[in-house]
Symmetry: C2
Subunit: 255 residues, 2 copies
DNA sequence: GCAAGAATCCCCTATATTGAGATTCTTGAA
DNA sequence: TTCAAGAATCTCAATATAGGGGATTCTTGC
């Protein structure tokens, strides 16, 4: 399983850095990756020069400034964020909730921008936090609008999880359920990601077939009766559609 | 100057991505870097698998989700940010201004967190934006507290720029000026980075010798007479010192 | 100024990397 | 659905180059 080309070897140093561990000494890296001392140091030197890592005296290596810069470049130019932020602002002012833009990166859901108007940070998903793939309104808003070719393998892989949350036990059943969401244009989920929190999400499209993101609201179940939820739903849908149209995508969520 | 090891070759793909250009087609990369087609695609594949790049249909490659995640990891765990943010909050509420935490990464100044209380975004420096090295209160607050060994080469390199802004024409003169800042603990600059904007910055230390960052305020000259500036200065100094002490550094800025 | 530890250098060998061109896979259009 | 243009990958030989043991130099902290 060890990568056999040096491209992957060098990049696997970066993947050592996780939420659990953000500081690595060369010794620990040698241990973890099995590289020899000179080799590791060669790699580290390159990563350091690229600014992706920095060495801190007496405490090993951490992520470096280039990471911050690259993220800045993305934020600054991402049309999804630029067009979406006014909507985040608007909806989060209208209700006590969190509003999120979550990008779909092929097999990952990642929050790229968010804003909240509530005190608690239970429902808070800051930029950069990955989301569970098989749960919640957000992922369903993506799945429901995926073209068949992409959807089917997706379902296969997560069948267990999807049926566990009651979406259906067979690929058949699941697609049927998703078709309903597709018809409504919005996905609503009650407490799937966080108990007591309702998620409402609609897909965002650019010129392509598959959705690229969702625009969504999470709100405490205490603050949202059915009436409110349905109001929010249509606003969310409208916002998502407007963002889509700005991105050159279809205006409405119909297929 | 072309890198001769594949570590650097792979990483130089990442450095193609700049503020000017955030989408690269493979063709353009081949052109820019001089790699052959299969080689380039091999590299791209690795970068894609690592999540650092994503390929967009019909518009080439862009930065990928891992970049966002890595930045998140940094934000989440950076003690400078964690301890600094309350102060950003507090000072930006007290005056109509921007409050910044700027990290010193060896030879780069990079804003890592900021907050502003004014409407205009003239003085706004969001996270990730690099800052000019030889200008402004911020860089001076770093330079003034650098140990000699690090300071002298720094001055050599930027002599022209430093003397242009009147810091002194010789290394001698400049160090003399910096010594004054060091005595006061705060650097103040009038309109050096942005005309009409006053910058006020104090260094932040961890356990090491050299400052690791500055805590600073930028405020429109219209809104700040000498009296106000001196008030802000002492508050900035106090905040910076408090952050330093939280980071295990010296409490006061004296040497 | 010195010593312990960290980072880099040297240099040869085996091996992984490279690139030209052919091949297969996608994707959009008819 | 079929087709064609373009994008991505594969094959394979030649060879550059990454890797590692051990020595060396550079940093730090005392």
């Amino acid at each position: 399983m060890a990568p056999s080309n040096s491209a992957d070897r060098i990049l696997s140093i970066l993947s050592l850095f996780t939420e659990e561990r953000l500081e690595w000494t060369p010794e620990a890296m040698m241990e973890a990756l099995g590289y020899s001392r000179p080799t590791l140091y060669r790699y580290l030197k390159s990563l350091k020069e690229a600014g992706l890592l920095v060495s801190m005296p007496n405490s090993g290596f951490t992520l470096g400034p280039r990471v911050v810069e690259l993220d800045f470049l993305m934020r600054k130019s991402d049309p999804l964020i630029l067009h979406g932020e006014p909507h985040l602002e608007r909806l989060s002012s209208a209700w006590p909730c969190s509003a999120l833009l979550v990008r779909w990166y092929g097999n990952k859901l990642l929050c790229v921008s968010s804003r909240r108007s509530t005190r608690d940070n239970i429902t808070s998903y800051p930029r950069g936090r990955p989301m569970p793939l098989a749960r919640g309104a957000i992922s369903r808003a993506i799945l429901a609008f995926l073209p068949r070719r992409q959807l089917l393998p997706m379902i296969e892989e997560n069948l267990a999880e999807l049926s566990r949350i009651g979406l259906g036990d067979t690929a058949e059943a699941i697609t049927a359920n998703l078709r309903q969401i597709r018809r409504k244009g919005v996905a609503v989920a009650h407490g799937e990601v966080t108990p007591g929190v309702v998620g409402i999400a609609a897909p965002v499209f650019d010129a392509g077939q598959a959705p690229i993101a969702t625009f969504s609201i999470t709100i405490s179940a205490d603050l949202a009766n059915d009436q409110t939820i349905s109001e929010i739903s249509s606003t969310v849908l409208a916002s998502a559609n407007e963002i889509s149209s700005k991105l050159g995508g279809r205006h409405d969520a119909e297929t």
